[in-house]
């Protein structure tokens, strides 16, 4: 037990085991997309839960982020007489990074926790075993509709966040920083490229998969009653938040590294 090499080995093996289990879990969840029966009603319910009911929190966060971004960038650029770049910085930051990341972090807190708690409670109260005895595959019933809903809902939310984030910057730019409305919008549109938005939406789809996967996986594997469900909920939010930031870097490298 005192051998540090053995301790490191145990940690590495344990990490490999968890990654392997998670990968198999994800593959099984995805494989049910191709095999009937399909639970359209459950998918729609999850889509509404993620896309519609997350709109207020994502919208508010995006507006305030755009507002703060305009204020901060103006303060910084004013030192170099480059205030005109505010619109450019706001739109690029929002569409490429802040829109996808902040919206996803908000959804991770709301949906990741909710999925982990709901599925975890079902696990510890035998409801998942009951599904099996009722001729229903729990992965197909619980996990697959959520994964699909997450992948489709997050790009929609990020598109909304992009629009509202830019609007937040425009609001501050025109009411507080003295920009002309038409020239601010023109600068915004001049610098915006299709790839900026598309990369953000692609990131959102990946983040949506990560959030729903971690929520489902932590819940599905929870053990030990209320404490276990609480631990699963915490793990789902923490793990998906870290993975969102890690995948953000990887995807940014893929899209924009030269």
């Amino acid at each position: 037990m005192l051998n540090p090499v053995a301790a490191i080995g145990r940690v590495v093996l344990s990490a490999c085991r968890v990654v392997g289990e998670l990968a198999l879990f994800a593959l099984e969840g995805l494989s049910h997309l191709l095999r009937p029966p399909f639970y359209a009603r459950l998918f729609l319910r999850q889509l509404i839960e993620i896309a519609y009911f997350s709109l207020p929190v994502v919208s508010l966060t995006a507006i305030f982020t755009g507002m703060v971004l305009a204020l901060q960038s103006y303060t910084g650029f004013a030192r170099f007489n480059a205030e005109g770049a505010v619109a450019n910085v706001v739109v690029l930051s929002i569409t490429r990074e802040l829109g996808p990341v902040i919206a996803s972090l908000m959804v991770a807190g709301r949906i990741g926790a909710s999925f982990a708690a709901e599925i975890g409670t079902m696990r510890v109260t035998d409801q998942i075993d009951a599904l099996t005895t009722l001729s229903t595959n729990p992965m197909k019933y619980l996990v697959t509709p959520r994964l699909l809903a997450g992948v489709l809902a997050l790009p929609f939310l990020v598109l909304v966040a992009d629009i509202l984030g830019v609007m937040g910057g425009w609001l501050i730019g025109t009411t507080k920083l003295g920009f002309n409305s038409a020239s601010y919008l023109k600068a915004t549109m001049d610098f915006l490229e299709v790839m900026d938005v598309v990369s953000g939406l692609a990131k959102a789809a990946v983040f949506g998969f990560v959030i729903t996967l971690m929520g489902c996986w932590c819940g599905y594997n929870s053990r030990g009653g209320a404490q276990g469900v609480g631990a699963a909920t915490t793990s789902a939010v923490v793990a998906s938040s870290i993975l969102i930031l890690a995948f953000d870097y990887i995807l940014t490298e893929m899209f924009f590294a030269r």
Binding site: M122, T125, D126, D129, A130, T132, T133, L134, S135
Partner: protein, 258 residues
């Protein structure tokens, strides 16, 4: 039972969780159309035995035959078809709290598309009536039901698809003696009406005598006695009689740490 193929036959069933050997070679025959009660102390492996038969846990060794066929060697589709013929009443009901009672009751029929959602409500009302509940209960959420009503709804769900094998996990646990007797009476009635084979696990001796034709005692992962449920308490087996009478002294020593 010689010459007659039992409905369920277990041979050498073994299961360990880490160092703990829960089942250590369980041999048991369960007659078709009869009620078998499996007795045993907490942690003796009763639930694990049932979960192995249901396919919720994979045993480490041994065979499980249903109607003479080894279900552990069955192809997945055949195993699913077998599960379609099995009902299960979980100890805590394991009702799906996201669904109303009527949808819980008809869950299996809906999953197998043997009934439309439009007709499921009427079917649920019919099955609820068989367990002594009014049709209006169908519109309630499981959280709105008392413990006894949850057991009855769980029983209704277990029998709705007219299974030919039904498992009961501690059907009277947590109920007052009168409600326990009511549930036992319902179990006996529905099992007789369906002509099903019933397998129950319980600590409740009064319940065991009411719902069981046969009984088996599981101790330290092995079946130590089988016989008629009617002789429990005066079976001639010291372990069974001690357990049935709840005597502190006897061959079964509880592992208590002081």
């Amino acid at each position: 039972m010689t010459g007659v193929i039992p409905k369920i036959r277990l041979r050498g069933l073994a299961k360990a969780f880490g160092e703990k050997r829960v089942l250590d070679g369980v041999d048991l025959d369960i007659r078709a159309g009869h009620g078998m009660v499996i007795l045993g102390g907490s942690g003796s492996g009763k639930s694990v035995t049932i979960k192995c038969i249901l396919g919720l846990i994979t045993p480490d060794a041994g065979t499980i035959e249903v109607d003479g066929r080894d279900i552990l060697a069955m192809p997945r589709r055949e195993r699913e078809e077998l599960n379609d013929r099995i009902g299960m009443l979980f100890q805590n009901g394991a009702l799906f709290d996201s669904l109303p009672v009527w949808e819980n009751v008809c869950f299996k029929l809906l999953a197998q598309k043997r009934i439309t959602r439009a007709k499921a409500r009427d079917k649920a009302a019919e099955v609820l009536a068989q367990v002594g509940l009014a049709a209006s209960v169908g519109d309630l959420s499981p959280a709105e039901l008392s413990g006894g009503m949850q057991k009855r709804v769980g029983l209704a769900r277990a029998i709705a698809a007219q299974p030919d094998i039904i498992f009961f996990d501690e059907p009277t646990t947590g109920l007052d003696p009168i409600m326990g007797a009511v549930i036992d009476g319902l179990i006996v009635d529905v099992v007789k009406r369906l002509g099903a084979t019933a397998v129950s696990i319980t600590h409740d001796m009064a319940s065991a005598r009411r719902i069981g034709d046969d009984a088996a005692m599981l101790h330290k992962g092995r079946i130590v006695w089988t016989g008629p449920a009617s002789v429990l308490g005066e079976s001639g087996n010291a372990m069974v009689d001690q357990f049935a009478r709840g005597d502190r002294e006897g061959p079964i020593q509880m592992e208590l740490r002081r």
